[in-house]
């Protein structure tokens, strides 16, 4: 017979067995320094350009470690510490970012521009109403030479759905030089007085279909479950995210996308 004492014991045993992740101390302190905001998640602009190189060029993190601020000298270094990610030592040059312009496309015209076989998304949420496609060149940072160059074209699928929501899927050619993808994508939503960015974390999903690699992140426009439904409907093969910083840094190039 399950009396109160047994229920109490079972509930305590279950909850005590939950393993918490590392405490994101800096993120909490930054958030505490801001005035409270309405309980909503900001819209996802994860492909918003370059101002936040940290948010775009990989924008990578496994978690938020504890660090001693005294050992970190600059804001940039602190960001890198928080993201557990080494940003490119050279910022993307203006000549490059000015060329990262998107161009509307149809499936046929997009296929003619990109160097991989496009596998269009299927299994979309039922309330999707409008699809628009665009292609854009990517930026490539070579970690070995420390130089930026223009990369091949990628495809952005932009979907509108009910409730004024929208989401994007990004298709690119699979390139093993990038190394394993990150588990999270960080959106840079502004700066605090001390220059520290206010970052919002999104879960990132990456899967392959042939030589195409598709990326999506969850947010107000699409949930993680809906992304996984798309991946399953496409019969995509999940690309395992990096589990350690060394895995994250194992790639020899970083890519920059701009929509």
């Amino acid at each position: 017979m399950y009396n109160d004492a047994r229920i109490r014991s079972a509930v305590a045993m279950m909850i005590d067995g939950i393993a918490p992740p590392p405490v994101p101390l800096l993120a909490i302190l930054r958030s505490a320094a801001r005035p409270p905001v309405a309980a909503e998640i900001p819209a996802v602009h994860w492909l918003r350009p370059v101002a936040a190189a940290a948010a775009i060029v990989g924008a990578i993190a496994i978690g938020v470690p504890l660090i001693a601020p005294s050992v970190v000298e600059s804001v940039e270094a602190r960001i890198a510490q928080i993201l557990r990610w080494t940003p490119p030592s050279v910022p993307p040059p203006h000549w490059l970012t000015s060329q990262l312009r998107s161009q509307e496309a149809t499936l046929a015209s997009a296929q003619a521009r990109v160097p991989f076989t496009i596998v269009p998304p299927v299994g979309l949420p039922r309330d999707v109403t409008v699809l628009s496609m665009a292609t854009s060149p990517s930026g490539v940072y070579d970690k070995l030479t420390g130089k930026w160059q223009l990369g091949t074209q990628v495809v952005f699928f932009t979907y509108r759905r009910s409730g004024s929501r929208s989401f994007q899927l990004l298709a690119d050619r699979f390139d093993p030089r990038t190394g394993p993808p990150s588990r999270y994508q960080y959106e840079d939503t502004g700066r605090l007085r001390d220059g520290m960015p206010v970052l919002v974390r999104h879960e990132k999903f990456t899967w392959r279909n042939g030589d195409q690699v598709m990326t999506a992140i969850d947010g107000d426009g699409i949930t993680a479950d809906e992304i996984q439904a798309i991946r399953n409907a496409m019969r995509g093969v999940s690309v395992t995210a990096a589990q350690t910083r060394s895995e994250l840094d194992s790639g020899t190039i970083d890519k920059l996308y701009r929509f």
Binding site: Y2, A10, V11, V23, A27, I28, L29, P36, I41
Partner: protein, 181 residues
């Protein structure tokens, strides 16, 4: 009360940055576990726990009686978990839960997880606060802003559902089959 911290510890957190960091480090696992027990989603639990820790840090200077820190902080985490749940309802499969949530190979813990997961949100929160944290219905009412009579009703329904599920799971397989006939 699990978060019954020493008054000096709370005062130290109210006074200085180091103390606040120590306090956040101490409450984080508890906040996360409670959020996960209510939300059943690792990502949402992390969001709720993080927002609750930030809210706690912001409001800490206004806490005059450090002896009520426990019930005060539980109120914060439960309200944030409920807010997150209403904002972005999601469900998770057992596989995901095993991968990211409960690192416990005792099958009882998984049975309990399933039983709690099957409860409506408000009942889940009431169960966590009553059976895990140890709050009375009047204290849960104060924490959630619901009438105490509603909390007692939630607890009664939850208790009934948990007993039914857990007792069924505890039966040997052949007995389960017989009872289904």
């Amino acid at each position: 009360m699990r978060l019954a911290l020493h008054a000096d510890f709370i005062k130290s957190a109210q006074a200085g940055e180091d103390g606040l960091e120590r306090l956040i480090t101490v409450v984080w696992p508890e906040f996360y576990r409670i959020a996960f027990a209510i939300l059943h989603d690792a990502g949402l639990a992390e969001d709720a726990a993080q927002e609750a820790c930030a809210a706690m840090a912001r409001s800490l200077p206004t806490l005059r009686n450090s002896h009520v820190f426990g019930s005060w902080s539980y109120k914060i985490i439960v309200n944030h978990a409920l807010t997150v749940a209403r904002r972005r309802p999601r469900t998770q499969t057992l596989d995901v839960m095993i991968d990211h949530g409960i690192h416990d190979d005792r099958s009882d813990a998984l049975d309990t997880y399933h039983a709690i997961a099957a409860l409506p949100l408000e009942q889940r929160a009431a169960v966590v606060l009553h059976y895990y944290v140890g709050l009375k219905s009047s204290e849960i009412a104060a924490a959630t802003g619901l009438p105490a009579s509603t909390i007692r009703f939630h607890l009664m329904l939850a208790r009934r559902a948990l007993r039914k599920t857990l007792e069924l799971d505890a039966q040997p397989p052949f007995e389960k089959v017989l009872s289904d006939v």
